[in-house]
């Protein structure tokens, strides 16, 4: 399956704040936070399905950069980057 990536470098995205039980690679501290897509890293099988031997769909994986204030609520000179699968992201 080849899906067209929904997001482009520079796009502002919101990480969904949903709960998830089972295997999941989206860190909780960036859920509900806005970040900027820096790069599409490639297509990868959804780890949430792959971990349970399901026929996992391929999803775009994005390198998303978060400002300090957005993640921790206070100003700081530093940034967080995390790799987020597309089904956790919506336009912000």
């Amino acid at each position: 399956m080849t899906a067209t990536p929904k997001f482009q470098p520079g796009d502002l995205v919101l990480v969904d704040d949903r709960d998830h039980t089972g295997h999941c690679r989206t860190p909780t501290f960036v859920r509900g936070r806005k970040g900027r897509v820096r790069q599409m890293l490639g297509m990868y099988k959804n780890p949430e399905e792959l971990a349970y031997y399901k026929d996992a769909a391929e999803l775009p994986l994005y390198d998303v950069v978060f400002e300090w204030r957005e993640v921790w609520g206070e100003d700081g000179p530093d940034e967080i980057a995390a790799d987020i699968y597309e089904h956790w992201l919506s336009p912000a």
Binding site: D78, I80, A82
Partner: protein, 210 residues
């Protein structure tokens, strides 16, 4: 055993396992034995894979970084498409390992790598991760107070340098390509490789021409 007239019976405590076997060890043993019994894997194949992982050490990474410092074209290839660039330096058998991405430090941006969810690490290049990399303290603190954590490693950065903490929790593993230290203009790649330690490639320390 040579006899020198002295008695050594009490020199050290007997060497034996003192800790009880843990639940995960029992689980691992059971699964391993089942896989062997059912012919899915052989004990030899498992041991060969363990040897293969044990043979990987940060030296490979050090040589890759040193080459990137001394060969602009290689540096560009390493960042744009790491797999063939790593293979050029002898890091092969990459197909069964997660992809590696190289992140290059600049004058105003320094990278430090963590896996907050477990302990994802570029094992294919650096070998086994250090114990602290897997500890909750590092994983929870470096995303919240990176400057304090780096200071504990002896690394102080000015506020004008952005520390980018990269949480490598998905399909890619990250290797930090630091800035080439000052005062090394006439150094060979072999000399430079000596400066590049494991912690530098994780991003908690910086290379220095001592």
């Amino acid at each position: 055993m040579p006899h020198d007239g002295h008695h050594h019976h009490e020199d050290h405590a007997p060497i034996e396992d003192v800790e009880a076997i843990g639940e995960y060890e029992i689980l691992e043993q059971a699964i391993r034995e089942l896989l062997v019994e059912k012919g899915v894997l052989t004990a030899d194949a498992i041991q060969t894979q363990i040897d293969e992982m044990d043979s990987r050490t940060p030296v490979a990474g050090s040589r890759i970084i040193a080459r990137a410092w001394t060969d602009e074209a290689y540096r560009a290839r390493l960042i744009a498409d790491p797999k063939p660039a790593l293979a050029e330096m002898g890091v092969t058998k990459l197909d069964h390992n997660p992809e590696v991405k190289v992140v290059a430090d600049t004058a105003d941006r320094h990278h430090v790598i963590v896996c907050t969810l477990c302990s994802c690490y570029p094992r294919v290049i650096l070998g086994m991760p250090p114990a602290w990399y897997k500890k909750r303290a590092y994983r929870s603190r470096v995303v919240k107070e990176p400057r304090q954590v780096l200071a504990e490693f002896g690394t102080e950065l000015p506020d004008s340098t952005t520390i980018e903490v990269h949480d490598s929790t998905a399909d890619l593993r990250y290797l930090v390509l630091p800035m080439r230290p000052e005062g090394t203009d006439d150094w060979s790649a072999d000399q430079l490789a000596e400066l590049v330690t494991r912690d530098i490639m994780i991003g908690v320390r910086l290379p220095k021409a001592a």
